[in-house]
Symmetry: D2
């Protein structure tokens, strides 16, 4: 297969390159850019010397149409205009940005402060959360790959909400992310001397992933209530932890919660439900496509603490995009992305 990456020099693009390199079905990777045409990729990123020494190419429709799969790893707002002309003309399309995730254009415009895509394209997009939407993904014209935070939150909460084991009306979700989630553009937020040794909270109640989480909870688990969601920046590069708090429904036990999670994901190779542990940390999924989940009920308050960890760049972005590609092509969904986490 020949694939193209549009926005190759961003972190989503770099991680696609890293993962696709070991994918047995990929024979060619073309790297596209709008702003750095002609730059030799390995001069910008020396870790790719001898591996990607070709120059980045201009985004030309004719070229792109001949590819088998195109990944869009671009800032919000770009695929709204770039993707529609490519729908149905050839390559399978996987959008890592947020443009086509929200079915309601007014929500996109409210939370992203940008013009939404046309309705007819929004309707065609399929939300690429494989563990919950595999059948639709198989038939998709194009994929809206989920956001990093939503992936961790939804994988850990959807089973418990759908099976009415926890109370969806009072969800509190405290999410934490490594700094790579902010991308490769230097700014005060990502400036080493101010970020290092500094755990911070940002975008209180205003993160654009909130409507995405709520839409999916409504769609997959009939949970229509708004959530309380905050995001924190951890002085580390990779990793997301979502710690969620929910009232447990009457008579429900911790064992039922764990059984529900295990039952839901018994066929899902990338979701691991942990029990009897002292500690769960982001490093245990570092570099891999796993999502590890744990739940514990506090008998004093009858509230459950549900924990999920992912690598934001893999299961939270590029790994999941490849998982979607695998499904689109009828491959085993773990093809090329079954590597072990790099715990140390």
């Amino acid at each position: 297969m020949k694939v193209g990456i549009i926005g190759a020099s961003g972190y989503g693009g770099l991680e696609l390159i890293r993962l696709l390199h070991n994918h047995p079905e990929i024979e060619q990777i073309d790297l596209f850019t709008s702003s750095e045409v002609g730059t030799v990729f390995s001069e910008k990123y020396p870790h790719l010397v001898t591996i990607h020494d070709q120059p980045m190419q201009a985004i030309e429709q004719e070229h792109i149409r001949q590819l088998d799969t195109v990944f869009f790893s671009t800032p919000a707002g770009v695929t709204t205009s770039l993707l529609p002309p490519l729908v149905g003309v050839g390559p399978k399309l996987i959008d890592l940005a947020g443009d086509f995730r929200l079915k309601d254009p007014s929500l996109y415009e409210e939370w992203y402060q940008k013009d939404a895509p046309e309705m007819k394209f929004l309707e065609k997009s399929v939300y690429g959360l494989p563990e919950w939407n595999k059948e639709q993904i198989k038939e998709a014209e194009f994929i809206a790959n989920p956001g990093c935070y939503p992936t961790a939150v939804l994988l850990s909460l959807l089973p418990l909400l759908k099976n009415e084991l926890i109370d969806g009306s009072q969800l509190v979700i405290d999410a934490k992310s490594g700094v790579s989630g902010a991308g490769n553009k230097p700014s005060a937020v990502t400036h080493f001397s101010e970020t290092n040794e500094n755990f911070s909270i940002y975008k209180l109640h205003q993160h654009q992933h909130i409507p995405e989480i709520e839409q999916a909870m409504n769609l997959f688990a009939n949970q229509p209530e708004p959530i309380t969601f905050t995001t924190h920046l951890v002085p580390m590069t990779r990793g997301i932890m979502a710690t969620s708090y929910a009232k447990v429904n009457k008579q429900v036990t911790e064992k039922q919660l764990l059984d529900c999670l295990r039952e839901t994901y018994k066929e899902s190779p990338f979701v691991r439900v942990l029990t009897d542990i002292q500690k769960i940390g982001t490093k245990q999924v570092y570099g891999s496509n796993y999502c590890d989940i744990h739940v514990k009920v506090d008998p004093r308050t009858n509230r459950a603490t549900i924990v999920a960890v992912i690598d934001n760049l893999v299961k939270g972005a590029s790994g999941q995009a490849i998982q979607n590609m695998n499904i689109l092509y009828g491959l085993d969904e773990t093809t090329g992305i079954d590597n072990i986490p790099s715990f140390i």
Copy 2:
């Protein structure tokens, strides 16, 4: 004043040494140890060469009684036997450990899994949270210095609970700490290669600071309900953030919450209420005795997110202990601890 530090080689002790060095009323600091008598302090800690080149001394009652103030910076369980013989015999006593914080000995035994101190001494101990207990501290026979997490949680929540602006029956507190909170004893939890780049959750619902927080909420704000409290380990050395979630009571506005906090702390030099900010992080109080607080109401859920940051070793331990010492002696409470945070 002559002061002594028992347990000098722990991190609480080291931080007392650092802060007391610039305290204008201190003329002598004696360092005591039970396990390393005779070790030259600066050989163990070379950052103190030329500053503390004396050997650590054995814990002898006669010597200790001649001091003006004694700080106990020992592991849980040690002051239960070590402190009582010194009550009322001379020096002012400030215990940085948890032994005398819980008034109900059965709670101590349940959460600490150790024998509680005698009731008559528990009754004499005064909880050293100056912003809420200054009058009692002034008259105290000895001080139980608060835990690190409780300091951040209580300073940010007590005003809102006491004034019945938030619903105390459904509190969710998501706390995060730097690794220095685990002390100076090497272990798997603090092993660099496994802690670095690893954000983890530990002691779910089981942290021994839970009953301390609940006791203080009951005492200072008439809030008797159990809390949901979890603790996370951040790959950084210093700093605590407590992110708390509470239902806002009817008709209460964000402005009222902020006004309440500001009013409560208008005479408290170490508590700063922040507004109109994009970000709040632990580094903005690094090395200082400040506690910075921010609150924001989510109109979609009518839930408030209340954020507090402290340096766990300063306001969360040694700085607050010195603040208590200052109050005990009638000094300005900022004496010796009014340094600016080291943001970079």
Copy 3:
């Protein structure tokens, strides 16, 4: 192939597990331990849940003899007694420890402060630096896998010494390593709060890798002079940089140095010679088996600065061990270890 890892729970072992997982010729990995027999591996290391849920096994000769390859990832001194009985009885043997690297037993005893292996086994060991010793490796009875620092130092200096482009009599080598080089045993040196934000120097002139480097310089490049070698600890987990300083021989130009390096390694897939760069860092080889080399001559002093970076756990240990295994079996030497560095 069936392989066994003795000392599986150390970092060398963990990294072997991570890399061998994606090796197409490996069908089974047995994990051996002397101290934790019966412990379920994934309970100790949760990142391996669903991947290595088997218990660790006792080191039994009969079992081990049936394997195709055995990796020893044990502390110094263990293989001196453990390895000899297995020589020639079946499995190929690769020792990641230092026991069999030094041909002169008195040097081992001086620098390691342990009894050296028997001479007859020392004579049989082959130093597993593939880029310099491939023919011998192919025929080896067993392999002494190089140390982490020597790998970086030798790959960057041997070509220049052998071709007499630099003066070997005044070499200064300033080496820096991430903390994972210290292994998984907690100690003060690896305690997060004292290691984080702390760049330190250790073992001045006394590192046990010194005689290993000198032996190889003598053997492969006829350079018999002692080196000045120091080691530093960098507050990061992985990565080694060796910065070496050498007088450039008369009339030799920077271009000649670079050409020599390129020519030497034109058939070596894991060595990359970089030119025209602003910066070279350990992250550009993170998680991979690459060694990146750069050299620059200072015309003011006619001294060359030669820089090499590797991932200490991959090219500096487990990746190189697999590279040796590949060569022993006549496989392409990149099999299973041709992954891209994880730059972010």
Copy 4:
């Protein structure tokens, strides 16, 4: 005293603010800026809320002339035009930038790629390395505060060179710095996700501190030879280590080197000569004005490894500037900067 800081929002400025806050002779600190006039300082830097809530002021000569001391903490090239008009008109002037350090204007123009200041002002500037130039500093019209790397290098090497104990003709200096040395302007070099866990080398043989070091070696120690000097970036915020390598002159012992250092600095409160240590790290001077030095001779090569650590923002910049101010005013040179390092 009333002091002003020009370029207050840079890291040199922030650190001056932090340190001057505890200086007993300072009653007022005015903050000047060229680009952010009117910005409330604590809105830019929330760690200063309640401490510096005043707006930054325009750089007006009339205002500045009324101050007692003015610190210039500006990028290279600014004081060349800004400082001369203030010489001799009132305030004592301390320049933290490099503009007036090099007496030879052609060197400045070569290494800084900027126009040099006028010769008559270059001649008046006094190099502010108090341990070596105190008498001149006392009488100075204005001070050129030393660079961060030169401070560590010169303090550790000058005594040995001046006393002809080491060979100055073959000096190799391998220097390492935390990221705060790069200032507060976001760039790829300081972008967290690419700097974290990445030890890198930069500006090989081209750092602008090279001529500064050479000038001072010539001036203070009659050592006219060029040096080999490289600089590395450590993934931490603060701290510099300079590891220097020198041939020991004939018959000279390690003890002589240590004695020479101790004798040289016996009256210097900020220089500590360490002996009998296993490890020396940057954290042992963190936040303080100390420079710790250690030296060890390798009998195998008769080469000495000389190690110096400083906090680049304190002894390497703002702390040393205050030390100079103290000397200019005849105060004890430790006034306000005698705080203990924050080892944890």
